[in-house]
């Protein structure tokens, strides 16, 4: 799409669909040439996003712990604090995975509407659980399904009609955002059952080993971990996952090999909607209220989610990306943000979080460009 749009062929070993004869061959024959250890470490850092993210997490946590030890922080940055801050990772990581699936599907795939879906589906949950007193599981299922339907609208327009994804999801962002506000006359729903839902976000002690490690937020186990496992299984262990990588890498070739390209891409947007519906429930619980602007205030939720996906090594051109990258990128941002909050007094911290997010994203993007030129070979 841009001047550098030719970079698509520049895989950096992050894709599970490794074409034979791809750049991966290099390390395999290193037994013969025997590169120095430093070169190999540098290559791993630059070409394997997961390695880079792991190193960055260690660095960030170490720096913050040292700052803590020297009394630069307003409160202790310890494992307990890190564990409790993970509650912020739940919506971020799930939406990051939603963007992963959509961006993987290729042809400029992106979903700007996730935040608006969170708002609208959240209001539906608010009605179902808070006003009509449906049982929790039913309200949850209905909310997720509503999210899926809203995502399916995106998918239909993008893959069957052929709209550009950026525009489609921009349009539905506006439409869903507006509906979410209008549906209950701009009023949030915060009845008794909704307020009690806040207990989802409490921290729990794990059985058996829980005594020795910090307490983790319940949402991690009830929402985040199952989603991560399901998406990982979907991408790495099912035919659908393979097809998704195929259409993202080259959808013309995929079409000729008999893959239902439109159907596969349609499902990607539907999955993104389903995940947004799930986040809607989490968000309602976190705020203890179904707010009509939950997913779109300020920068909204789509921007951070896309940032997480890109930081996690997902190629915006499609076909390259891993679940582990997205999860590690979330951890990095969440722990960095948690540390920044302690490093500044009052409102300053949230502003410096913007700086950190932007700087990390630009850094990661430039690194991608460098990696492509240095190791991928496209000029």
């Amino acid at each position: 799409m841009s001047a550098s749009g030719v970079e698509q062929s520049a895989h950096h070993g992050a894709s599970p669909v490794q074409p034979a004869g791809g750049p991966r061959l290099k390390p395999a024959d290193s037994g013969a040439t025997r590169e120095p250890l430093g070169t190999r470490i540098l290559r791993a850092l630059l070409t394997q996003r997961v390695v880079l993210l792991a190193v960055l997490i260690v660095v960030v946590v170490a720096v913050l712990m040292i700052m803590d030890a020297n009394d630069y922080l307003t409160a202790p940055y310890d494992p307990d604090y890190m564990a409790s801050s993970l509650i912020n990772a739940v919506p971020l990581a799930i939406l990051g995975l939603a963007e992963l699936v959509v961006i993987l599907s290729g042809r400029g795939g992106i979903d700007l509407s996730v935040g608006a879906i969170v708002s609208l589906a959240g209001m539906v949950f608010g009605f179902a659980y808070g006003e009509w007193n449906w049982p929790f599981w039913l309200a949850l299922v209905v909310t997720v399904v509503v999210g899926g339907v809203l995502g399916a609208v995106n998918g239909f327009l993008v893959s069957y009609i052929g709209f550009p994804a950026l525009i489609t999801t921009l349009a539905t962002y506006y439409a869903y955002k507006s509906l979410a506000v209008v549906i209950n006359n701009q009023e949030p729903i915060s009845t008794e059952p909704i307020q009690n839902l806040f207990s989802i976000t409490r921290s729990v002690e794990l059985p058996v080993i829980g005594h020795d490690i910090p307490n983790f937020p319940l949402g991690i186990f009830t929402f985040l971990l199952p989603t991560v496992v399901v998406i990982w299984l979907l991408l790495a262990r099912t035919t659908y996952g393979r097809r998704l990588f195929a259409i993202g890498t080259n959808d013309v070739a995929a079409q000729w090999s008999g893959i239902a390209v439109r159907d596969t891409r349609f499902k990607a947007y539907t999955i993104s909607g389903l995940l947004s519906g799930l986040v809607a429930v989490v968000t309602v619980a976190q705020f203890a209220s179904a707010r009509p602007d939950a997913g779109v205030t300020g920068n909204g939720m789509a921007l951070p989610a896309i940032t997480i996906a890109v930081l996690g090594g997902v190629a915006i051109t499609g076909g390259i990306g891993r679940v582990s990258g997205v999860v590690l990128a979330t951890l990095l941002i969440v722990w960095l943000n948690a540390g920044i909050l302690l490093a500044f007094e009052g409102n300053e911290g949230s502003q410096f979080q913007l700086l950190a997010l932007g700087a990390v994203l630009v850094f990661a993007a430039l690194l991608n460009g460098l990696t492509n030129r240095r190791y991928g070979g496209t000029r």
Binding site: V6, L112, F163, T317, L361
Partner: protein
Amino acid sequence: MTTTTPPRPVPAGEPARAVRTRNRVLPSPVTGQELVLLAVIAAMWVALYFTTPAFLKPGSLQPLLVSMAPIALIGIGMTVVIITGGIDVSVGGAVMVCSVLTAKTLVSSGVSLLPAVLLSVAVGGVLGLVNGVLIAYGRVHAIIITFGTANLFQFLGLQIFGSSTVNGIPSTFDVFGRGVAGRSFGIPHAFLITIVLAAVAWWYLRHTAGGRHFFAIGGDAQAARLAGVRVQRRILLAYVLTGLLVGLGSCFVIAQGTSTLDQSVGTGYELQVIAAVVIGGTSIMGGRGSVLGTVLGALLVQTVSSGVTQLGWNSNLRDLFVGVFIIIAVGADLLRQRSRRAAA
């Protein structure tokens, strides 16, 4: 599968091969999309006139033109950026930086009109330069870089804000505002400036080699490079241009408000501008687009917004209509492209 064949023939903007064929290569001065937009806007104005007689009066149209001006103005730059195949989602943050810096300067030193405008434009240009350098020479996809710089600009803007609002902004910018000082012969200055700049941009993009290079890059950057276009420099220029226009647009934004500026300034601007550009018929895939369409797109969005308010509907319905209009505009464009391809 017709939708997924990537190499699209460049319909317009290819450098003319010979002077003789020049007229054939030039796209028609007004596109079908623009005519349709004109018709839709006219229909809406007439409909609004019959439902709320207060519409079509100067007192109602003038504010409408003033409010659409910054969107259309920044839209000119965004159109060029999108024609090259890029996008700039950092304009919201850039508007915040420019307007808060200019407003603070106005409050603290009381500079006169011209230096204040120049300051804002210069700051905008620098922000655009940052985007342009990173995108053109870092060779990273524009949406990623501008998502990043959007955060950085917001940080910068909030830092300059210091407190939650800037109060007591002097009336230096009233020449761009809604008041009597803001118009000559009944036409708001902000709108006039926008129209003049849009006309210049239209001429530049259509009738100069440099302008058409933008289309060439959007059509196929590699081919453009081989044909001798300095691709990176052109891309850099597109983002700097957007930055400069953001600077000027920020002056309009300050002028529209009261004497205070709060931290929400610029929020969501990028999406409004992109919506106007897309409704105007510019292809998000690059290589095709028009500045006139963008101005009409901004006018349409503002008409919807103003209409919803004047009909006494829930003002949040505006966004729903904007969304629907984007879908219709892009859908119509897709249909036309398809029938053109079938005819060819």
